[in-house]
Symmetry: C2
Subunit: 450 residues, 2 copies
């Protein structure tokens, strides 16, 4: 009998695994994908830009449709949801419009993604309270924006990346938008002085911030969202977006006895095999990753990890010996004309982890001072005092701030000393940087403090 | 007696050394700089943008004037040229408007820069044949552009970075401009398929290319430049720019018995001490650097190296133990709306060095495919087949192509394997890259070929 590879979930990790396995195995296996929705390989990261009108059409966010995958020899079955698994008998229960059926596998790939965290507060289940995870979520927000009378104000609960991107999108759409978060500043994973830069850019763009306040209730009137209550504040809102982060969608896996860790993420080995289950693989937002600096599993659900993990699974299914090396907490976004980038541990995180760290914050320029279009950026470098290696760096600034992180993200910084960083042969030309790249300037300041 | 530090040359390396030593030593030493011209700390890299009109004023290119340096306690003496040195008696002969005088030193820093290579052909000494090295050179070109009748056509001889930047500047100024080079393509340090992309961008911008032709003569008429003859071609030209690269300005050092290497560059140790001369230091365009991949001295005169080497000298003068770690051949520029970046060895270079290499050329996108403003870029990765490490990579493309090199330049790539590169935790967000960064996509293709 032909080898049977079943894949649960048709987005980044699942379809990367499917495509890579299919290419590597040729006709030696059946590759079947169960997708509970109707689309495959879409960019959830693009949803805020679609809502904000920068991306015109939902289809723009779809990299490859089910039919395109089918043309590549992958048996994609949409509206097929896996509702149970039996890891001993090696089979999964699939629910489709035609009914329920057990399907046997030789290898099973779990790529079920994540779902927005819904706070346990009154009103959270009202219409016009939106998560931002699937294209359908995006479509629902856009639909609400077209309501008559048109909504005029919105609240975003939480100030992670997606929350802030959505806040900016809603401001673009003309809504008075407030971000409410219990943290003291937006993007709590940044150190305070960097978060402050983000807050300033947001305020300048017209986003209202209500920090240091947990939301107690989503106020509804006649079944419709009317506002958000946080302590003594009540903020009017015609729609509410949940930006509190996500939780791995791993119920089926957990019920079958698979191990899970932080945020319910399925625990895997570097090969992306589920720990203790040699024929079950997991990747993408439903799986954990090893943090190289913490040296423990974390849940950092990002499209780039999902694609890499899917590729690793596909390579391994095809007989290679690939490993996902873990993450160092790298992330970038653009919020209100500022590029925001981070890698490794911030100063506060690093201290929490027991590092004795030194830090330097440097204001630099994105180009040579005389070159047209020069802007500012702020680099913070954090290094361990003892081994001079870098727990991390956030960068906030204008054009080029985000890609500058690429100096630091790859073993470059994490794994190299500040001394290495300062002397490393980075490129310079007036349109791209001052003659000392700001990350190297920060390194020099840091050296002086060690 | 106070320690006496003499520095020859008041641009990047010299003034970095002076400033760093002054800060580190306080009042423990006299720091005297002899500069044969009248300006200090200027950006030669900015000259093409000044000539092209993107930078309005010559003063914009001056980072710090002699008076500003003096206010920091550095004794800057302009119009003072060092014309001889006596390494045994530890003194230099200084020529100034007041005459010649021997000046004793405890430490001597040579930062005399480089000068444009002038080909040995008829007409090369005519007026309107310009090198591009000092601000005076830039002023002379601008002056020539103001001639009456206005010049209408120009030839750039050579197609290195500065030559091409000048060609673009001259086109901006409305001149019909031709680049003539004996190489088959512009930027001969790039591999052919990458040079071809540069050639295409230049042609699209209106620059004419005459490749594969050495210039035999600069044709003059009545003492004025009239054209350039290259084989059977005669190209009319009202002015000619030399873009054949530079040679270290090291006559004084060589006459004093100091060792020199490629392009007459003064040979130094990683401390920037001149080899065999413990109290003489050299940095910047007059000095050699160790190429980490060749493991031999090279002459790669760039402002970023000059600043770093000057800083290393200054730190060492102040009693630290700093080293310049060498270069890996990193360089970036923007030519005709294309960003061009390289690090390490190209495929041809690597083969010449005896590496058995595999290469992959990948066309990628600068942003997510659906994100507004997405452009294309081409990444070539070259890796050693045996140890899987990267000799190098050139990148040619739109916005973000150049800074993407920062993934590869720092120990990251050179020193890491392709496997490391593919899995490394690079940042992704739709405004900045596709979900697989193009350099990682190139890595995946390379893996498939190994």
């Amino acid at each position: 009998m032909r080898r049977r590879i079943l894949i649960v979930g048709g987005d980044a990790a699942g379809m990367s695994a499917a495509s890579t396995a299919r290419r590597g195995l040729g006709d030696a296996a059946d590759v079947i994908v169960f997708e509970r929705g109707t689309v495959t390989s879409y960019s959830a990261c693009g949803i805020p830009y679609w809502v904000g009108g920068e991306v015109a059409d939902r289809d723009d966010l779809v990299v490859r449709t089910p039919d395109e995958h089918r043309a590549n020899g992958i048996d994609v079955r949409t509206r097929h949801e896996v509702v149970a698994m039996d890891a001993v008998a090696k089979r999964v229960l699939v629910r489709s419009p035609a009914g329920e059926e057990w399907e046997a596998y030789d290898d099973l790939v779990l790529a079920t993604g994540a779902e927005p965290i819904r706070p346990d507060i009154p009103g959270v289940d009202a219409g016009s309270v939106f998560g931002v995870q699937s294209l359908d979520d995006g479509a629902r927000v856009l639909h609400a924006l077209g309501d008559v009378p048109a909504p005029t104000c919105a609240v975003v609960i939480g100030s992670g990346y997606i929350g802030l991107e959505m806040a900016e999108a809603l401001v673009r759409r003309g809504l008075r938008t407030t971000v409410v978060d219990r943290a003291d500043q937006p993007m709590r994973t940044l150190d305070p002085e960097m978060g402050e830069l983000v807050a300033r850019a947001m305020t300048a763009t017209g986003i209202r911030l209500l920090m240091g306040h947990a939301v107690d209730e989503i106020v509804t009137r006649d079944g419709r969202v009317a506002g958000v209550r946080a302590g003594a504040h009540e903020i009017p809102a015609d729609l509410v977006v949940l930006g509190l982060g996500v939780r791995a969608r791993s119920d089926v896996a957990r019920s079958a006895g698979l191990p899970t860790g932080p945020a319910d993420a399925i625990l895997t080995e570097p090969s992306q095999r589920v720990t203790g289950h040699p024929h079950v693989w997991a990747g993408g937002d439903c799986a954990s990753s090893r943090h190289r600096l913490f040296d423990r599993p974390v849940h950092i659900p990002l499209g780039t990890h999902a694609n890499k993990q899917g590729w690793v699974i596909g390579r391994n299914l095809a007989g290679h010996d690939a490993e996902f090396d873990g993450v160092v907490g790298t992330a970038i976004t653009r919020i209100c004309s500022r590029e925001i980038a981070r890698t490794g541990l911030g100063e506060a995180d690093a201290r929490d982890e027991g590092h004795d760290v030194v830090a330097a914050v440097v204001e630099g320029a994105t180009r040579a001072g005389y070159y047209p279009g020069v802007g500012s950026l702020t680099v913070k470098l954090v290094a361990d005092r003892a081994d001079r290696r870098g727990p991390g760096a956030p960068i906030v600034g204008g054009e080029g701030a985000a890609l500058r992180l690429h100096t630091l993200a790859p073993g470059g910084w994490t794994g190299k000393t500040v001394d290495d960083l300062v002397m490393c042969d980075l490129a310079y030309a007036p349109p791209f940087s001052p003659v000392w790249d700001p990350v190297q300037t920060a390194g020099r300041v840091l050296l002086g403090r060690m």
